[in-house]
Every structure is written in structure tokens, then in C-alpha cells.
Symmetry: C2
């Protein structure tokens, strides 16, 4: 018996969007325990510098280590793009982000090798999606677009609103002209706009949600390290939630996204880690 096998998986995000990744892990790895941290007191990361996103991610990894996690999922595209390569060699735990799984899924999906990527300003500027896609297949053409208004529009609840439709048409106009057949939703909030993005992009464009592929990549990673939970030891609570700001808004959003009701989120002063 390997005791670490029953340890939880640490998952973090700049705020609430990473809960869409938690949802996929719950569905695809139902025996796994999860410790989630949302940096709601410093959200968003998408318009901040690489240096600051690395510093914040490092503090969160330190916090998750105090929770004795067996692996870490960076459930934030911006942190995956800006901080993961710096942090991976600093820790002795398996760690994955959402960017690489997203690119792998897109490369499998595309037929014409013309892929669009939409994400936050910092993620697009990092060029990581673009680099990884072309590294794998130099014939792939990538068309990237930052969509800074999408997160505030989702948080305002305007996910099916005519205003959001106009904004999406404008953001996507250039990349849709490029005859893409695959579009990566490179920010964890964007899958909440899936219906609207489907209308704007049309049926011929496949929408890629990296959260789904990340859950599958996590399963492979845990399996590789002999860390998959076989479900023989039930430990409660199975899911624990932490946030850096007060928890009322966190719980409301979490309960609108997750298949389980959560109530006991704990506030953490994250800059101390």
C-alpha cells in the first residue's frame, strides 16, 4: 500500500474559473480527493505580469504542499502559460497545467491544421499555446486573439446576452476569416460561453475545452506515478475548498457549477506562504 495514493490532488486558479476543471476531475476521477484554492483576493491574473503571476503561483503551491497533496493541477490558463515552466523544477510533486492538454486535444481535432486560440491578454502574449502547437507540428497555423472582456461578461452573468454576442463577433472576426476548423477556449471562464461561441463560430468549428482533456491527462500522470486512488479507503471530506477573499461569493458560484453542494470554504491569507 502506498499511503500517498490516498492523498488529495491540489487544484488552483486565480479565482473561480478553475472550478470548471474541478468539475471534470470529479466526473472523470470520482475516487480522487481534491483540495481547491481560488485566489479571489488577487483575481484576475490575465492582465498581470509574468513575474507577479509566478510569485502568486509559488505561494499557492506552498500552501497546497501544507495540505499534503500528491499532485498539483494548475487550473488557470494564465498561470499555466506564465508560471508552470518556472515552478515545475522547484517542486518534487507531479504538476500539470491546462495549456498542454488543450493543445493536444486541438491537434487531434483539427483536419486542416488551422487552429484558433482565444484567451486572456497575458496568456496570448506568453505565446505558449502558439509555441506548443507549432512545436508538435510545424505545418499547423495558429491564429490567436485576446478577449479581455469575456471574463467580466461571464461574471456579470451575460453569457447569452446580445451584448456578449456583439463582443464575440468582434473578437472572433479576424480568426474566423482564417478558415480555422478548431478553436481552443484558452481561459477557464470561456466554456461558460460555449453556446454563444458556437453560434458565432458556426458548426464547422470545433470548440476545445482544455478542462476535459486536463482531467484525462491527470489520470495518466497519476497512473504513471502509481498515485491513482483505487477507492478502497474513503476519507472525508473528499473535497475541500479554500479562497483568499471572503467565501460567500465563492460558495454561490461553486454551487452553480459543481455537481455537489459545498458550504465550508475556508479563507486563507495566501501572501504568508
Amino acid at each position: 500500500m502506498n499511503p500517498e495514493r490516498y492523498a488529495p490532488i491540489g487544484v488552483f486558479d486565480s479565482g473561480l474559473g478553475g472550478l470548471t476543471v474541478v468539475r471534470e476531475i470529479m466526473r472523470n476521477l470520482p475516487d480522487e480527493r481534491i483540495v481547491y484554492f481560488g485566489d479571489t483576493a488577487r483575481v484576475p491574473y490575465g492582465n498581470k505580469s509574468k513575474e507577479t503571476v509566478i510569485r502568486y503561483s509559488r505561494q499557492i503551491v506552498n500552501f497546497l504542499k501544507t495540505q499534503e497533496v500528491k499532485a498539483i493541477v494548475v487550473a488557470c490558463n494564465t498561470a499555466s502559460a506564465l508560471a508552470l515552466d518556472t515552478i515545475r523544477p522547484e517542486i518534487d510533486l507531479p504538476i500539470i497545467g491546462v495549456v498542454r492538454p488543450g493543445t493536444e486535444m486541438a491537434l487531434q481535432a483539427t483536419h486542416n491544421k488551422r487552429i484558433g486560440v482565444i484567451a486572456t491578454d497575458s496568456t496570448i502574449r506568453s505565446n505558449l499555446y502558439q509555441t506548443l502547437l507549432r512545436e508538435h507540428d510545424k505545418d499547423v497555423r495558429v491564429f490567436a486573439q485576446a478577449c479581455p472582456l469575456f471574463v467580466p461578461l461571464v461574471e456579470e452573468g451575460w453569457t447569452k446576452d446580445p451584448v456578449t454576442h456583439i463582443v464575440a463577433e468582434r473578437y472572433l472576426a479576424d480568426i474566423l476569416e482564417q478558415d480555422i476548423d478548431t478553436l481552443i477556449m484558452g481561459c477557464t471562464h470561456y466554456p461558460l460561453l460555449r453556446t454563444l461561441l458556437r453560434e458565432v463560430a458556426g458548426e464547422s468549428v470545433q470548440l476545445i475545452n482544455p478542462a476535459y482533456e486536463t482531467a484525462l491527462a491527470l489520470r495518466r500522470l497519476l497512473d504513471h506515478h502509481g498515485l491513482l486512488n483505487d477507492g478502497r479507503h474513503q476519507i472525508t471530506p473528499q473535497y475541500a475548498f479554500y479562497a483568499s477573499d471572503t467565501v460567500e461569493k465563492f460558495n454561490a458560484f461553486a454551487n452553480s457549477i459543481l455537481p455537489y453542494e459545498i458550504s465550508s470554504t475556508t479563507q486563507v491569507q495566501i501572501e504568508k506562504y
Copy 2:
């Protein structure tokens, strides 16, 4: 001679918006030195809890004290509304926010005593604008509306865009139906939407920019404490800028707003204060 008279004024904001207040202080108090801090690594405050905004504001006040400022201006509506009353008794420096000057200006401007207030979610929820306006004159009717998309729209540069026009029409619809004659722009970003808000609200509604009145209130406050700079001792640099995230974006935005070119902004790790 009072040496403190030649000390700088500390001004802070959650990010860049407070520079609109700095601009008014530069214009109205040209002999004063200024130390500005923008919390760009943790921006925005407008969707965060009172507890967190107080904690952040306290750290910034501690930092400004290390700069030996003679007075502090909270150039952020959210911090003024959520943190100022808690922090004032904790320090021995004159300190003012932008909310009270904004309400005083609105009370002078209104004829029909029907005043609108637009601001961030946290500022509106704090009820401070509403409370101060009614405290002064119980016949005043206040109509408040949170406009969470305005800051991201300004930061996207869509200050004269049809999308922003539609969003503004929607946000203002209810309060414009209430026959207001005065509208307080209760967030430092909103004056950058003045032209568009003027179109949506119509010529009969006076737009109040608290930044202007804050500069005048600051003059009265300094005068009251014998701290007005008489301009006899020129100390350079007259203006110093600090930010918690890296400074490139800060300098670009500052140079688009301020009458003076700035280049030497310094990054500060604010959570250490």
C-alpha cells in the same frame, strides 16, 4: 517654518484610475509634491470584500508612511467606501477619500434633489454614497447602480464604442427613468467615459467627477492643518510613482493621462507592509 509643509502628499488607488485624481491635484495644487501608489498586482478592488479592501489599504498606508507623506488621499472610490472609516482612527495623518467630496459636489449641483450614483459593485453595496447624501439632506432621493463592465471596457480602450454605448444605456435605464438631474461618476475610471455618459444621460443631467472636488477638499484640509506647500522650497523629484506589479503598463497609461511625462515608476512588494 514647518518642515512637514514640504513633505509630499500620498495618493493611492487599486490601480491606474486614481491617476485621474492625481491630475486634478497637479492642476489645482501645483506646488505640492505627490507620492502615488497603484496596487496593480491586486487590482481591481471593486468586486472584493470589505475585509480584504481594508487589509490592502492598510498595507498601502503603511508604505506611504515610509515615504514620510504629510497627508493621504484615497483616490479609489471602493477603498474610500469600504476602508477609510476603519483606517482614519488608526493613523495620525490627515486622510481624505473621494466619496465625501463627490457627495458634497452633487448636493450643491442638484436642483430637484434626485441624484444618481454609478460605481463598482462593492462601492454600491457599501451604501456609503447613499448614506452620506441622505445624511446631509433627508429629502434627497438617491438611485444607485453598479456598472461592473465599465472598468474593463475603459481598459479595453472602448471609451467611445457602440458596445459601451449599449452597455451604458442598459446600466443607466432605471436611474434615468427616475428623473435625476445629477449623476455621480463614483469610480475613477468613469470620467474617461464622460463623453459617452453625456450622450446617454442627456444634457439635462449634470455629471459629477469627484476627483475635481477632492483636489479642492485636499487644499482645505492641508490649509486647516497648516500643511499647504508655499512653493518656497523646490524639492525634486516632485512626483514619484510606485506600483505593485511591473511598471511598463503603468507608465504607458500614466503618460496618456497626466500632463507630465513619467518614466521612473518603482515596483513595490506591497504585502510586506
